[in-house]
Amino acid sequence: MRTLTEKELDQIKKAIAYKEITSAEILMEIFDHYLSHLQSYEVQDFEEQLYELEQQFTYSYCHALQAKFLKASKKEIFHLQWNLFKTYFTWPRMLGTILFLCAYIFFWGTIEAKTKGSILVIPLVIVLCLSGWIWIKSYKKVREIKRIVDAQKRIESSYLSTIMVQFSLMTSSFNLLILVPKILDVPNFLDSVFFLVASFSLFILYTGYTLTLFEAWRLKTKSALI
């Protein structure tokens, strides 16, 4: 195994840059594969071996791999969150949650409809802060990959994309159920049963999502670029 020259490294970086990979995980793995392979050959074989690699890691192969990885990361995060959600409810926690919900429903009945909408914003803001924090953490890790590979294009973790898509679904649901009827000036919307049920369900959904996202992130941060 030999050390590659600066010229060779530049050649590898250029070859990988042409593939326009945007997933940091895929870029990192392909770059390591190229280097590991080429290091085991002598200088005179470099061009030939690089060509061989280029035949395997074609533009379309890299993009297909990237798309599959994004899909797999979505599945992984969702399963992780769902498993956490299922295992979260042990008997003491279930009892605690039921007591909390009873107190919440009682409290819900005593406050004004306008305040209910405002309260709903609290978990949404928490999710926003959590997502922002994960984004910053991921940005720092990906910046290192970008520096190593000299990537000119914008790259990001596929896991981060998954989390951000989920977050956009949260805000969209809030807009659809709370803001749209308000903008359209639906009469007595804030006093309707629909609003009560929708806002209460959203509160539970946002809280559950925040808890599971945080736990999933805690598990994945050790091994992924988030």
């Binding site: 995980e25 770059f31 390591d32 594969h33 280097l35 590991s36 599945k75």
Partner: protein, 115 residues
Amino acid sequence: MSNNNLIKGSLQTIILKLLEENEKMYGYEITQRVKELTAGEIKITEGALYPALHKLEAEGLLSTEIQQVDNRVRKYYSLTKDGQKQVTSKMSELQGFVENLQRILTPDLKPGFNI
């Protein structure tokens, strides 16, 4: 030897078995280990290896670890507890298949032979 189609169905088992024997491995290392063990007869293509690794990771059978090695970042794969459980069942599944295949290819062989 062109055996890519034959390997396809057993690639996940090969990966799991190798990771059972080695604590952690990275993508290129897996391809080289297979090549070494089979004296170059079986070559795992990158086209099949990485999607298989990512799939096993998404299914929770593999865990990953990122390490700075020389002038780059390397992703290591290792078995999770679920993955360790899966190795035995996947191995016996594959061995059973190979035995049955052998019976088809050489019908004279008595049942219950060991490979």
